[in-house]
């Protein structure tokens, strides 16, 4: 069955192709069958392939489809490489993707672009699968840009709104800035290794470089540039909150579960380079730590339900970056997987709420949904609990606890990382439950216009189950020491070496985390349920700061001022091309001389004679005075 690996990205591609070619001629039933069916088949195939893969003892499998292009030293192939890392990713992509497709059938039912939506979504899944299965960096780049395209298309899906188009372009352009760095990284890698095959690079790198080699550091930073663009990390995080203009399933699939974690995939995939470039790795961690705080604080102040989730996504990916920064690769991947479950769940639930409330995004106009949408409420609550990492029962607790612990105890960890992660944990708990309390508690402010049906609730329940149970495949030493997930990744991704004599504190850390998460929950409960006026007071007393956070730390304004406005200004004032003025000037000079000389041709015969005489006299005079 593993031979059918190539079919996994091909099926969604075919689905997309059929949907694009037939335009909107298909009935929604057939379009839905093709759209969701192709992903469903891919998911089933993934199970079969995964079974084979495990049965064969996790032996990496390479499928070369065809030689892509070969010139000079550069040789690239269209080939898929399956190992335990890409296995996790294709599993998440196809499964979460399938659930989201099912959900979308109902969510988008009324939309006239139904089949277009599924075409894009299928194309996205295909690109994402290519990204994680690529065996060389050029093909990875293809997937990388492909998901960027689909993200652009889907953010701007409702294209008649000007601001959706703006958000879509912003997302594409900002991620492209990161991609530029990544492309330069590829050039550099090629110069060093004369190949862009990932496995070749990874095997040669340790032979070629010693730890801390400057080339490795530069390459590490350049690839990090690509990763921060795609994963919406500092300083390129500003596109993600605006990307919420897309339909909710899109936010769930692309801007939470899969595409935005491509950066995590890239860095993990190239982890050997980062191990050799401690400085670059340190910065991965620093960027993660700062981003998780910045985004967390911004999430505290949003009123748009989806924007809270967007900032939360940025913040959670910050955790993954932090984990990678301390070398906790499998912890990062674990958190990626769990995050994919609960964040997809939260977005889908949020989408269901927004649809139920007639496209109302403002949390403060919701309220009291606890009894009206019980399924949504309970699933959302499970997702929120997982996000806030409520201790011992949620998957989020186990994944995040691992990161916190390794940020503290890992060899590359330090106090600052740990403190940032800890603060982040409190902030996460607060904004998560702020969201829950405002949305579901209190009195109802908007009437419900649409009660979600089976296609919405079933995926929610499945995801809820996963975000509840998913954590139990990896339990810390102190709580049962069950390490299925990291064992599964272990030969590929090395475990973290701990600082010496630190094991004893693990309990303490866990306790602190648990207390902080619960404390955050309690604090929020007081602020938003018990004494809501208190939260308003805090808000008005720190209005400036609140607004600053609300605007995402004014990064947008900064970039507008520094990059966008000068560029647009320059290009506007030069619309008529200043270089052309030079040639126009040349023409004008010629014309001026023409009009000047034309005056001497006045047609008066005597004038001509006179000029001959004067000319003759001049020449004679000159020849008299200037002796040859």
């Amino acid at each position: 069955m593993i031979k059918l690996l190539w079919l996994i990205p091909t099926l969604p591609f075919l689905g997309a192709l059929i949907l694009i070619l037939t335009g909107s001629r298909l009935s929604w039933r057939i379009a839905a069958c093709i759209g969701a069916g192709s992903i469903g088949l891919a998911a089933i195939l993934t199970i079969l392939v995964g079974y084979d893969f495990l049965a064969s003892g996790k032996e990496a499998y390479l499928h070369v489809a065809w030689n892509w292009f070969q010139a000079g030293d550069l040789s690239t192939t269209f080939s898929f490489y399956l190992d335990s890392l890409s296995m996790v990713f294709i599993f998440v992509i196809t499964f979460v993707g399938f659930l989201i497709h099912i959900y979308s059938i109902e969510f988008m039912q009324e939309d006239e672009g139904f089949s277009r939506f599924f075409a894009y979504l299928n194309l996205f899944v295909c690109s994402m699968l290519i990204l994680v299965l690529a065996d060389n960096l050029v093909l990875l780049y293809l997937g990388w840009e492909g998901v960027g395209l689909c993200s652009y298309l889907l953010i701007g899906f409702w294209y008649t709104e000007e601001k959706n188009g703006y958000a879509a372009r912003k997302a594409f352009i900002i991620t492209r800035v990161g991609d530029t760095a990544m492309a330069v990284g590829l050039f550099l890698l090629f110069t060093v290794f004369h190949t862009l095959n990932i496995q070749d690079i990874l095997t040669q790198a340790p032979l070629l470089w010693t730890t801390g080699a400057s080339m490795a550091v530069v390459i590490g930073f350049l690839l990090l540039g690509g990763a921060v663009g795609k994963s919406a990390q500092l300083p390129l995080q500003t596109w993600l909150p605006d990307a919420m203009a897309g339909p909710s399933p899109v936010s769930a699939l692309i801007h939470a579960a899969t595409m935005v974690t491509a950066g995590v995939y890239l860095i993990t995939r190239m982890h050997i380079v980062y191990e050799l470039a401690p400085l670059a790795q340190l910065w991965v961690g620093i960027i993660g730590a700062i981003t998780l705080l910045i985004a967390g604080f911004s999430a505290l102040t949003q009123f748009d339900l989806k924007r809270v989730l967007a900032y939360s996504t940025i913040s959670q990916i910050g955790y993954m970056f932090l984990a990678m920064g301390v070398g906790a690769w499998s912890a990062a991947i674990f958190h990626f997987m769990i995050h994919a479950f609960f964040k997809a769940l939260l977005f889908l639930a949020a989408g269901a709420i927004i649809m139920a409330l007639h496209h109302e995004h403002d949390m403060f106009r919701m309220g009291g949904l606890k009894n009206k949408l019980p399924v949504i409420y309970w699933t959302f609550l499970i997702g929120a609990a997982s996000l806030a990492a409520l201790p011992f029962v949620t998957a989020g607790f186990y994944s995040k606890d691992q990161i916190l612990w390794l940020a503290w105890a890992g060899e590359k960890g330090n106090l600052w990382f740990f403190l940032a992660a800890l603060t982040g944990a409190v902030v996460t708990a607060v904004y998560t439950f702020r969201m829950v309390f405002i949305t579901f508690f209190g009195e109802a402010k908007t009437k419900i216009s649409h009660v979600p049906g089976m296609r919405i609730t079933v995926p929610l329940m499945v995801l809820a189950a996963l975000s509840f149970a998913g954590g139990f495949i990896e339990l810390p030493h102190t709580l049962g020491h069950f390490t299925l997930f990291s064992d599964y990744l272990s030969p590929l991704l090395p475990a973290v070496t701990l600082k010496e004599g630190i094991e004893t504190t693990e309990w303490t850390i866990q306790l602190v985390t648990a207390v902080l998460a619960l404390g955050g929950l309690y604090l929020t409960y007081i602020l938003y349920v018990k004494q809501p006026q208190l939260s308003n007071e805090i808000k008005s007393s720190t209005f400036e700061l609140h607004q600053f956070w609300f605007r995402g730390w004014d990064f947008d304004a900064l970039y507008n001022f520094v990059f966008v406005r000068p560029f647009v200004f320059l290009s506007r004032i030069n619309k008529n091309d200043v270089i052309d003025q030079f040639y126009t000037g040349l023409v004008q000079i010629t014309e001026y001389f023409n009009s000047a000389f034309v005056k001497t041709q006045n047609g008066v015969l005597r004038w001509y004679v006179m000029s001959i005489v004067v000319g003759a006299i001049l020449i004679l005079t000159i020849s008299l005075f200037v002796q040859p």
Binding site: G23, W68, F69, G72, V138, Y159, R176, T180, F187, T191
Partner: protein, 520 residues
């Protein structure tokens, strides 16, 4: 013989369809279409004949040598290698589309239009084939004059101005090339006693660095005006904007490529040292072109003008790649020539199709067209993505190879050029946003692509995707030429075989010329 046949076929077809228009316009169009299609079929059959994978090392596939004016060493010498083959395939492919695209648009002086169209194509064919510098200059002019008429007679509002500008720029720079050609002719003649315009003879000329540099500038300026390179680009936005759709298609798709072709075929092999010495400046010009073109494109409101500036930007990559002096970059350049011809050509076709429907090129007056014309929107999306270099489409392969090759030559310029891709994203997405997305402000209603228009655009889509996924055949076809332009010194050695065919003509001519030499 096949090669001469191609050119004659097009010229004769042009004259015939010119006269046929007096009888029937439809017949004239059909005749023109059939002529170009036959030419295309011939080239495809040659390609198939040579084996599609083209892994052979010998670069010259076809060769034709007929003495023309032997007393001056001028011969009708045509030869085809992989690069010519590719460019000819592109030429005739776009030629077919150019006839198709004018089917409804051109209703005025139909016969003369098709005469000019076919003669432009014939001239381009000649440029891509000829191996005699005198003949090269001849064809260079042959493609120029009909193009002048195409713009000047069938263009839009400001056509006279654009046609003059186009003509003066290209003609003036062409004259510089003629000077260089003549100088080469005499220098070569004095050195060897053989007065010949033949490419392969000239190749062996040794030039002092100073002379070499000046002569190279003659060629270089002609080619970079055509390409065009900032700051010699300003004829292009006007010419593209004012030309009829077929004219824009040929200009963007082919005429610009003759500049790039000239760089690869003539400048690099004939002046290897001189071109190496100006490489940094040339690459700088390329980078400036990439950024400047992108910046200009962003601010334009005229659809065709916008696309014209994107050409300036894309041609910067050619400049960057050619003067990087390595195989990868050069392969990227060849690829870029083809993919840019297709993607930009397609964007001009879309501009033309839109103009036929709503009679404006102002993108600020468009918007929200997707709802009305989803098929056109999808096609436009593909080419917009091609223009911003999305992997999976041909342009990516070209740009990636160019950049990775240029990286080996100059790191700073490559970084800046790569950053240019961000600007490419900005202007490309702006096209999409202003034309197809957003709101339909003026309430234009329009029909989606007709069958004829689909027949034009769908093959373009297929080709650009095909080139993005399976570019190897193109790369293989261009490989020998590329390798030769890299090692210009070995060039003559490799092609001695090709030259032996001409020995009998050349030697006869040598005697004669040598004799007259003694007489002096």
């Amino acid at each position: 013989m096949l090669l001469a046949l191609l050119i004659l076929l097009l010229m004769a077809g042009g004259i015939a369809s010119g006269f046929l228009a007096r009888v029937s316009h439809a017949a004239c169009r059909w005749l023109a279409l059939i002529t170009v299609t036959i030419a295309f079929a011939i080239i495809v059959s040659v390609w198939i004949d040579e084996g599609l994978s083209m892994t052979q090392t010998d670069s010259w596939l076809r060769d034709l040598y007929i003495p023309w004016i032997p007393s001056f060493g001028i011969a009708f010498h045509l030869a085809m290698d992989g690069l010519s083959l590719l460019m000819l395939a592109l030429t005739f492919f776009l030629g077919i589309l150019a006839v198709l695209v004018s089917w409804k648009e051109i209703q005025y002086r139909v016969g003369f239009f098709h005469f000019n169209l076919l003669w432009v194509v014939a001239g381009i064919t000649g440029v891509f084939l000829t191996m005699d510098l005198f003949l090269f200059y001849f064809f260079w002019e042959v493609m120029l004059i009909p193009m002048y008429f195409l713009i000047g007679i069938w263009g839009h509002e400001n056509k006279q101005y654009a046609a003059y500008k186009f003509f003066i720029f290209t003609q003036a720079s062409g004259l510089l090339m003629l000077l260089s050609i003549l100088a080469l002719y005499f220098i070569h003649g004095e050195q060897t006693g053989i007065y010949s315009f033949d490419y392969f003879s000239i190749l062996g000329t040794t030039l002092s660095p100073e002379t070499g540099r000046w002569l190279m500038f003659g060629f270089l300026i002609a080619f970079i005006v055509k390409l065009p390179v900032v700051p010699l680009h300003t004829w292009l936005p006007d010419a593209h904007t004012e030309a009829p759709t077929a004219g824009s298609l040929l200009l963007a798709g082919l005429l610009l490529k003759t500049g790039a072709y000239g760089l690869i075929r003539f400048v690099l092999p004939i002046f290897p040292e001189a071109s190496a010495s100006i490489a940094p400046v040339a690459m700088l010009l390329g980078v400036v072109g990439i950024l400047y073109g992108a910046m200009q494109a962003y601010s334009q409101t005229d659809f065709k003008r916008l696309v014209a500036y994107t050409s300036v930007s894309h041609m910067g990559f050619i400049m960057l790649g050619v003067f990087a002096f390595n195989e990868l970059a050069m392969q990227g350049v060849v690829m870029q020539m083809i993919t840019h011809g297709i993607s930009t050509g397609a964007l001009f076709v879309i501009a033309g199709v839109l103009y036929e429907r709503i009679h404006t090129r102002d993108i600020l007056r468009m918007g929200g067209m997707w709802k009305k014309v989803p098929f056109m929107g999808t096609v436009a999306m593909i080419f917009v993505m091609a223009s911003l270099g999305l992997p999976g489409l041909g342009n990516f392969v070209a740009e990636f190879m160019t950049l990775i090759g240029a990286w080996q030559a100059n790191k700073l310029f490559t970084i800046i050029a790569t950053a240019g891709l961000v600007f490419a994203t900005a202007y490309s997405l702006r096209i999409m946003q202003k034309v197809f997305l957003g709101k339909n402000i003026e309430g234009h209603s329009m029909t989606d692509l007709s069958l004829r228009e689909k027949f034009i655009l769908v093959p373009l889509c297929v080709v650009i995707i095909w080139l993005g996924l399976f570019p190897q055949q193109v790369i293989n076809a261009a490989r020998p030429t590329v390798a030769n332009s890299m090692h210009a010194k070995n060039h003559t050695a490799i092609h001695q075989e090709a030259q032996t065919n001409h020995v009998k003509y050349t030697s006869a001519f040598t005697l004669e010329k040598g004799g007259s030499h003694e007489h002096e």
